[in-house]
């Protein structure tokens, strides 16, 4: 499993590296990614709930190996916080693994690491 991140402010990149530090999974920037195997997408939500155009364009081409989504966002948006993840999760029928405020906290990192582990175990079955 790869972690593919799309970022504007650097928050999803920092979050992806925190997850990688804990799990050892490979981290790839969306601009450089050409997935040929399962990946977890880390993206962000702009303002009131938009999926970034770069992410939408990428998914248009590479949704086949998408296994889950994490969205960073701003807690200030209340019910729309991290909505890009809801949109992607519904559209591609993949789990919304974590909704994180900005670059996330230790608990968010752990949740994603646990998911990666469970997913790897299931894939090996």
């Amino acid at each position: 499993m790869q972690l593919i991140f799309d970022t504007l402010t650097g928050n999803t990149r920092r979050f992806a590296h925190k997850v990688a530090d804990l799990t050892g999974v490979e981290v790839v920037a969306l601009a450089d990614a050409d997935p040929r195997a399962p990946y977890l997408l880390l993206t962000y939500t702009f303002g009131s709930g938009a999926v970034p155009e770069s992410t939408a364009a990428f998914l248009g081409q590479h949704s086949h190996w998408l296994r889950g989504v994490v969205s960073s966002g701003s807690y200030h948006w209340g019910e729309s916080f991290g909505r890009a993840g809801d949109v992607i999760s519904a559209q591609y029928r993949v789990p919304y693994v974590a909704r994180v405020n900005k670059s996330g906290n230790a608990e968010d990192v752990r949740r994603v690491a646990d998911w990666l582990q469970t997913h790897a175990a299931n894939a090996a079955d």
């Binding site: 504007l8 402010t9 650097g10 928050n11 920092r14 702009f46 303002g47 009131s48 701003s74 807690y75 200030h76 948006w77 209340g78 019910e79 405020n101 900005k102 670059s103 906290n105 230790a106 608990e107």
Partner: protein
């Protein structure tokens, strides 16, 4: 004033200076709102049911925010707009400045709605004499007025702007969110939510510009900049703790507000791409509920409210006219497609 050496150019929105400013500009224009659109009359009744201590904290928290938004609109944004390069960036920051002025007016309108004239005067005088509030303003103002306009100098100005909007406002935001989270003062709470959403985007935009400036510094400058950041942040944080103790003692929320301030200082760090200054903490659940609280839409045509989205505009065409007046206006014309509703109207 130096004479222009280069010819003055126009703003070219087809070839933006970067990949994000246009998005922010459009975000700002799409979420534009005015306080007059959110009636406070229901809250005026609730206001009378609050205790003296609750009213005191509420109105002084808002008045402090008024001063800070006035500072941003009048000093901060013009300083940044003057110093950043690029027509679109300048336009985006100028728009931000106007939003700050609208926020300041919102606070003033709340005072006008809830207070008597003499109470109003007392609050404005309090702003002028409250030591921690004036200290906060003078630290920030000092950076804005600093003649250093090197990368480092400009970065500092951007950073204090973000400090204000992403962290230092939150000692004031806490209380209205806390009451809105309990279903009290919900219309004013909606205004606060609109302001918070504006400030959240401002904080990201100016932080992106700051990240760019930071990347242009050499290693020694970056090390100095980070030491300055930690030092300035701690100075402002200590001041904020004293301000909070004064503002929230009577309503018994001092520790909860301090937690909220630290939480938002960490958001600031994330926006700027620097190390977080504080341990992970949770936001008070009532405040979180105040942020989540769904607003009501007061005005059908503009769909305003904190679930706000600006209505999209589309040009009228011949077909629209045919839809509105289904009677054949031109006998030679093909029968237009009708929606069931218009069909029903046509047969009315």
């Amino acid at each position: 004033m130096q004479p222009h050496t280069d010819p003055f150019s126009a703003t070219n929105w087809s070839e933006p200076e970067d990949g994000f400013s246009t998005t922010f500009y459009e975000k700002y224009t799409s979420q534009l709102w005015f306080p007059e659109e959110i009636p406070l009359s229901n809250d005026a009744i609730v206001w009378k049911s609050l205790s003296d201590a609750e009213r005191w904290t509420y109105i002084h928290a808002s008045a402090g925010l008024n001063a800070l938004d006035t500072l941003q609109g009048e000093v901060g944004m013009p300083a940044l707009r003057h110093l950043v390069d690029g027509h679109i960036r300048k336009a985006t920051i100028q728009f931000q400045g106007m939003m700050e002025d609208i926020h300041a007016k919102s606070y003033s309108l709340m005072n006008k709605t809830f207070l008597t004239t003499s109470e109003e005067r007392e609050v404005f005088e309090w702003v002028r004499t409250q030591p921690q509030l004036q200290n906060k303003i003078s630290i920030i103002m000092g950076i804005y007025n600093d003649p250093d306009v090197s990368n480092l100098g400009l970065w500092k100005k951007m950073v204090v702007s973000c400090m204000l909007e992403t962290a230092l406002f939150y000692s004031g935001f806490f209380y209205p969110l806390y009451l809105a989270g309990q279903g009290r003062m919900v219309s004013a709470g909606e205004i606060f939510n609109l302001i918070i959403m504006d400030e959240a985007v401002h904080g990201v935009y100016v932080a992106l510009l700051a990240q760019e400036k930071f990347a242009e510094m050499n290693e020694a400058e970056q090390a100095y900049a980070l030491a300055w950041y930690e030092d300035t942040l701690m100075r402002l944080y200590r001041n904020e703790l004293a301000y909070t103790e004064m503002l929230y003692a009577e309503v018994g929320l001092v520790d909860e507000v301090k937690k909220f301030i630290r939480y938002n200082f960490n958001v600031l760090a994330d926006n700027l791409g620097v190390e977080r200054s504080f341990e992970d903490e949770e936001i008070n659940p009532i405040v979180r509920n105040g942020i989540k609280a769904k607003g009501t839409t007061h005005d059908f045509f503009s769909a305003k409210g904190n679930s706000y989205s600006k209505i999209a505009v589309e040009a009228l065409t011949e077909e629209d006219m045919d839809d509105i007046w289904p009677e054949p206006r031109r006998v030679t014309r093909k029968e237009p497609a009708r929606t069931p509703l218009l069909e029903a109207l046509a047969h009315d």
